[in-house]
Symmetry: C2
Subunit: 234 residues, 2 copies
């Protein structure tokens, strides 16, 4: 069975956020005459991500777009590393937009085109429509449309996000498959009634912390990359 | 000046709804052994469009997606033409989806790709995300993202629809341009603070009712097709 629509996680699943962010922040600090460990900074910045989302998921704060959370989290990390005064406010806004310029994993642009021949393909990220739109132009993600957090005004893995994506396409959850490299995302989708495909991205967190493969029996599909997933969908 | 984003009307501006709908309904009736005038039927179906939207625009009815209005309007026209019993309910649902399979005007797929090199391009139609997604796949409309009525939960030319499209892209109205073949749509966008581009589609309502060209001084750009608009944007 091929679902009528495939909806995708983007950070980690389709793009190598760690290397891209490390490159951007290293360059930004170099322009200020400072040398930092870009990977460490990227990890620290990403480390603020789930706590910031959790406050919104649990109702402790209304919906705020990820663009704004990225900027807030950047300021947190700059303060924690003694760099509160290194960048001007407009430079911080610009640096936070590094998330719009992540590079795709090598299989992604061509693999998405193959999958687009078989089904509707849509982003279902915690990134906003604005962020996903600009990232798609940079990383050559040929979306049919962009769904996700902005549509639901809430964050994955809450069921409302998956259900809002299905509703926007006028499809039932059983007609849609979530594709992600993160099992907590897939668990949320499965609990919401969607089919699931795990893509293994061992290098997401760097060569020293390879992610574990998934057990085949847990998800509807398990694939090494998007081409392998396309091969499995008939 | 080139805006950061171009947002587009779709029915009439990018697609030849009248010819496409006429072809679909003629074929559907032929399958039932009936002969009808497809163009007349298309005009009658489209004639129910603005009254149905007006009821929602004025608050007389909550937001209902255009997919559902198209089906309701089809049933109205079938009843008015003595065809209430010609199609089964599931056939009516299927026939209403003819709006997902409109053909583009000849300049559109390549012209949109040229414009996409210059700015973000997004649908800003009264069609739903679901309808616009499927129509884009049929008509080869290479959107960066799909905005419009579903995002605003209201219908053009109400200012909320243009403002919601800008907000979704995190742009101000002055950074966005509305592209349409209909002056009432452009007037709504201009009043909401957007730039405007008029595309002349003389054949939208058929060869016997050519639409008038726009006066150049009223809109920021006036062009014969998308290639002519791309030529004007530097």
């Amino acid at each position: 069975m091929t679902p009528q629509a495939l909806i995708f996680d983007v950070f980690g699943t389709l793009t190598d956020w760690r290397t891209s962010i490390a490159t951007h922040v290293t360059a930004a600090f170099a322009e200020k005459g400072r040398e930092i460990d870009g990977e460490d900074f990227a990890d620290a910045w990403r480390g603020e991500y789930q706590p910031a989302l959790d406050r919104i998921r649990t109702g402790g704060r209304g919906y705020v777009a990820l663009d704004d959370l990225h900027r807030e989290n950047l300021m947190t990390v700059l303060a924690a590393t003694g760099h509160s005064a290194t960048f001007a406010p407009d430079e911080i806004i610009e640096l936070a937009r590094a998330w719009e310029q992540l590079d795709p994993w090598p299989d992604v642009p061509a693999g998405l085109l193959r999958l687009k021949d078989r089904a509707i393909i849509a982003a279902c990220s915690n990134g906003s429509i604005a962020l996903m739109t600009r990232l798609a132009r940079h990383a050559r993600l040929p979306w049919d449309c962009i769904l996700g957090a902005d549509i639901a005004q809430d964050y994955k893995p809450k069921p409302a996000v998956y259900h809002a994506a299905c509703a926007a396409l006028r499809l039932g959850p059983g007609e849609v498959m979530m594709v992600a490299a993160h099992e907590h995302d897939l668990a949320g989708a499965r609990d919401a009634g969607l089919a699931t495909a795990f893509i293994h991205r061992p290098d997401e967190f760097g060569p020293d912390r390879p992610t574990a493969p998934a057990q085949d029996e847990i998800w509807d599909f398990v694939a090494a990359d998007l081409h392998a997933l396309a091969d499995q969908l008939h």
